[in-house]
Symmetry: none
Subunit: 247 residues, 2 copies
Amino acid sequence: MVNDITLLSRIALILVRPKIPENIGAAARIAWNMGIDRLILVRDSLPEREPMARMATHKAAHLIDNLEIYPSLPEALTNFTVVIGTTARRGRQRFVAQTPRQMVEALLPQLANNQAALLFGPEDTGLTNDDLKYCQMTSAIPTADFSSLNLAQAVAIHCYELHHGIIHASKDMTPVPQLASSFELESMYSLLEKSLFAIDFMGKVSHTYWMSNIRNFFSRMRLTSKDANIIRGVSKKFLLQQKNPKA
Amino acid sequence: MVNDITLLSRIALILVRPKIPENIGAAARIAWNMGIDRLILVRDSLPEREPMARMATHKAAHLIDNLEIYPSLPEALTNFTVVIGTTARRGRQRFVAQTPRQMVEALLPQLANNQAALLFGPEDTGLTNDDLKYCQMTSAIPTADFSSLNLAQAVAIHCYELHHGIIHASKDMTPVPQLASSFELESMYSLLEKSLFAIDFMGKVSHTYWMSNIRNFFSRMRLTSKDANIIRGVSKKFLLQQKNPKA
């Protein structure tokens, strides 16, 4: 039987280019409060330790000691099969954001066989469209006037919903199988992109538009490794055949 | 009809003897984010303005300008008819604490005709038993190991639950967009099948196996008309290019 603690251990928080070390510490503290113990930074360098440790308090000091740091988001995501972006924007984005509660409900059955990453953007700008393209789901905290939240508080609300959802989850969910990793997906998208160029389906200008549409629908579909392999296989076979036409 | 905004305007946050001005500012910001616009301090003196205003951001500056301050809790509570204490402690206290979600559910029907105050204690010790005696309800955020939260994050989680509860008391759910018709899907599958034959991805024997895999994953995905059109477009373009290769 998969228990609550095990499910929480399948979740990591990823802070993407956070500016203020205090916020990293506050994120560590609330993660620890809620039973989540993996904190990852996408950042060029390790931030100053003292303000992080002060906000984390000694109880969450081990999260600061064990901080993982990656220079880019794709590198941080390599082994995750479920990637969720948090955003304040509800206007132009491609994905219809769910509320944190809806997101947790959708996430729970996937945790049995998957590693999930929850992404938070920088304090001032949030996640970019480029960051969001790696996400299969987005979560936006409902606010008055579509206003944006303090980073540490947005992290707190999401950790709270995760903990609450997992503790109160019904034990008879149907688990979702292991999904394709971010690494497998990116390799698939890259082959698809080449194939679509090869048939002139899209040009230099329109390719961002089409690729984001394509990412959008594959994201909703939750591809397994097998699915991604089929699509890679088709694309490879096609590209090979382009080089050496039959007749 | 009493609407959402009216209900939120019936709620005030009271910070009891807060020590750190930044936390007051962060509370103001999240209160404003969630549509609550009354912030009260129980404190001997007004805290330094700059750190409060910085954390509040200019959007919630009016909450800092309009801070109400009282030397004692009973004075602050004079006009409230519903008083709720927040606490991390689950042991010795007189009241059995509810979760924030249960508390909001119990609070909602009371808001139509009452003014409610939500109390938060000092950063280090929380509300005392003496403070709690003014409360008709207590709310405790469930955590791993009964650990205590950062004040600004505890305020955030409560404001979020209040806003969420009030907004969803009436309305619900994001509507699903119109999905692709069976006609659109079959036309898409037929073009896909032709394309996959054309690149020898599957043969006469294996095609049932592959097509059922492909149908399986597109079914899970709930394609819209637009999605199906993109896939049809790609397949058509590919088949056309097969007939008239560039080189």
